[in-house]
Amino acid sequence: MARAAAVAAAAAAAAANSHTLLNCNGARSEDVKRSVCHCNGEKNGPRTVVASRQHRQEPFEQAPMYVAVMTYLGFGIVTLFGYFRDFLRAVGLEKCNSAEEREEQKDFVPLYQDFENFYNRNLYMRVRDNWNRPVCSLPGPVFDLMERVSDDYNWTFRLTGRTIHNAINMGSYNYLGFAENNEDFLRTVAENMRQYGVGVCSTRKEIGNLSIHEDLEKLVATFLGVESSMTFGMGFATNSMNIPALVGKGCLILSDELNHTSLILGARLSGATIRVYKHNNMHSLEKMLREAVCSGQPRTHRPWKKILIMVEGIYSMEGSVVRLPEIIALKKKYKAYLYVDEAHSIGAVGPTGRGVTELFGVNPVDVDVMMGTFTKSFGAAGGYIAGKKELVDYLRSHSHSAVYAAAMSPPVAEQILRAMKCIMGKDGTTEGIKRVRQLAENTRYFRARLKEMGFIIYGDDDSPVVPILLYMPGKVVAFAREMLERRIGVVVVGFPATPLSEARARFCLSASHTRAMLDQVLHHLNELGDSLVLKFSRRKYSSRPGLSDRPDFELDS
């Protein structure tokens, strides 16, 4: 009785699907997921769902022209000074602190003259105190950093011995708050470690296939609503080692412009032809599909053996969500296969945390290969690939990662098991669904407040990854340093990971952030936005106080 009341109270806070309210008792997760999908399908039809999402998805806002000009001006000045310093180092007026060739090798092909090394020596080294900061606590909603200073402009660091306590953590991928050290929650993990130890000392194929791996795979398949799944020890390796097993020479890969390095590496390793289409642009993708089906392979014009469309659930640098229903329609029309990398979206989006398939009300059977990682929402490490039983059985014997990589460590597997059971409600509490709803609420509130303040933000309204555009290199560095002064840890990203003129600060929201923490961060962001002049947005937003607290009912309408 009390539990039903708690469920009702938690659900009433953020208006959600009424069927989820009644069924969300924890026992029948399969029914919950199917009922959510069917509800979205019956009540509205997939087309209405698409229409409402399209209405909310805004294109990436462009900054005023003077911002781009000043960005390039800043980069130009620093590059000129880079050439000047390189000249001083070459002549001998200045000591070279980075790697250089030995005297005997000066006549060989130069090793350190390419642009990457130039950029590293002259731009990154100057400001690298903003990255690789040593963290000395668990990456929860607040964390501790070790204070370090540099005496020679960031070539070397030394730790002062002091710790910065309780800095608010806006950079960790801790979407559901499972990076915690609460004794009650971690009891099963500790017991598991007592039983199995920590190392597996073998690969899955040889003698490292533990019963806990089988349990985990069954649970992941149930969670996602597919036939079967396979888990791997490392998320990056899941992509890069399994794509070569799925496609090969004579196949075509259509990959989104902004795909992650692991997907690109896997695609290149496979030897298939890769064509890149514009980010989330269905016209570009359809044109390429049409051309591929009509013309076939480049010289022989034989039909492609396989066409694989590779997308991500949430793109980690933009926070934009893939247009899943449209891609599935295209895939069915042109008979291609779909590979969705749900690294950031599994557990973080969807009314019960099942990822982008639930967010759009799409049947998970339509996605041929569902891939995801356990690093982000589950507070563990590793990845999975899920889909039809034949696919997963094939991967068990043909994937490099399955055959050669060490199996997942048992305590890590147990952490994923307990996190997943918590989300599904199988552990008998409503903690999981509370966290999913809290994350959705935090995301909506944070994004709405930022837009009101006038920052340029990319991404869909539902994604917990919030990039704030900073553009100019000087401001990027000043932003990171000032936020650390105010005891907030942020991640700023610059050139190689983002386009040259679009440097940004990326905030990752968590279910364990309280409203007070978010308000504190927003207050400091407001101050910094004024003192560093970062509010470039030219949109008009009404600043009615009630607007940001309105519950989101657009998911169902």
Binding site: M70, G74, F81, V127, M472, G474, K475, S531
Partner: protein
């Protein structure tokens, strides 16, 4: 409107200038070099304007036949 406020405002403008031109990332001696270059070029432009402006204005007025 005190001198302190004026100084704070000037400091803020100098900070913005450092951020926009990315001089914020450079070492102090590099900032000095860049600032001296900028000041000398701007100074030369102002001086040239000061020396030649009267002649240019007379030429314009002569062209438009305002002055003979």
């Amino acid at each position: 409107m005190t001198l302190g406020d004026c100084w704070k405002q000037l400091n803020w403008f100098y900070y913005q200038y450092l951020l926009v031109t990315a001089l914020y990332m450079l070492e102090p001696w590099e900032r000095t070099v860049f600032n001296s270059l900028l000041v000398s070029v701007a100074g030369m432009a102002v001086y040239t304007g000061y020396v030649f402006m009267p002649q240019h204005i007379m030429a314009i007025l002569h062209y438009f036949e305002v002055v003979q």
